[in-house]
Amino acid sequence: GAGVSQSPSNKVTEKGKDVELRCDPISGHTALYWYRQSLGQGLEFLIYFQGNSAPDKSGLPSDRFSAERTGGSVSTLTIQRTQQEDSAVYLCASSLPGLAGNEQFFGPGTRLTVL
C-alpha cells in the first residue's frame, strides 16, 4: 500500500478483556516496529521485527503483551487481560533495513481506551 495502515483507529474495551491491534506495513519494508505513546508523552519502544530474525521483544512491558508478524508483512499486537494503564496510542512503523537505522514510516495509530 501507499503507507502504513493500522486498525482499528480507535478501540474501547473493558478492563480484563483481550485486544488485538493490526499493522500493515509498507510493501517491501522488512523492518517493523511497535511503539506506545501515553497522553502527552514521547514514544515508548515495544518490539522490533526484522525479516526472518527473532524479534526484539525487550520493550514489552509485561507478559500480557505479545506480537506476531506473519509472512514478514502484517503484524498483530495482542494485549491480554487489559488494564487501565494500557490506555494509550499504539503506533506501528516500518522501514527499509539498515545497520544504522533508517527513516521510519509511521501509521496513524490505534487509540486504545481501557475502561
Binding site: 514521547g42 533495513p97 544504522a100 537505522g101 496513524p108
Partner: protein
C-alpha cells in the same frame, strides 16, 4: 531513561518568526532524526542527520548536530500556523530501534 530530551517542552511564537528546538542525548549515535506529530497520532519524518554531518537543510528546516556536546538543534524559519505540532528527536544507534525524546510542543500563532 529517555535517550533524547527536547528543550523547551513547549514553545509559542508568532507566525513568521523562527522556532528553535534543542535535543540532548547521552550515548554515542549513528544518526539523529527529527519527527513531527500532529494531533497525537502518526509521526512524520522530517530530516535525518548522520553522526559525521554537522548541518543539514531541508526547505525551511535547518538541523545541526554537535557530537562533542551530544546535542542537536532544529530551526524552522518563517514559521506558519501549519507548523503547529509536537516535534521529537530520535537517536539511532542501531537498526533495532529509535529512542525518542518527550517532544517539544510548538504553537505558531497567526
Amino acid at each position: 531513561s529517555q535517550q533524547g530530551e527536547e528543550d523547551p517542552q513547549a514553545l509559542s511564537i508568532q507566525e513568521g518568526e523562527n522556532a528553535t528546538m534543542n535535543c540532548s542525548y547521552k550515548t554515542s549515535i549513528n544518526n539523529l532524526q527529527w519527527y513531527r506529530q500532529n494531533s497525537g497520532r502518526g509521526l512524520v519524518h522530517l530530516i535525518l542527520i548522520r553522526s559525521n554531518e554537522r548541518e543539514k537543510h531541508s526547505g525551511r528546516l535547518r538541523v545541526t548536530l554537535d557530537t562533542s556536546k551530544k546535542s542537536s538543534s532544529l530551526l524552522i524559519t518563517a514559521s506558519r500556523a501549519a507548523d503547529t505540532a509536537s516535534y521529537f528527536c530520535a537517536t539511532g544507534k542501531s537498526a533495532r530501534q529509535l529512542t525518542f525524546g518527550s517532544g517539544t510542543q510548538l504553537t505558531v500563532l497567526p
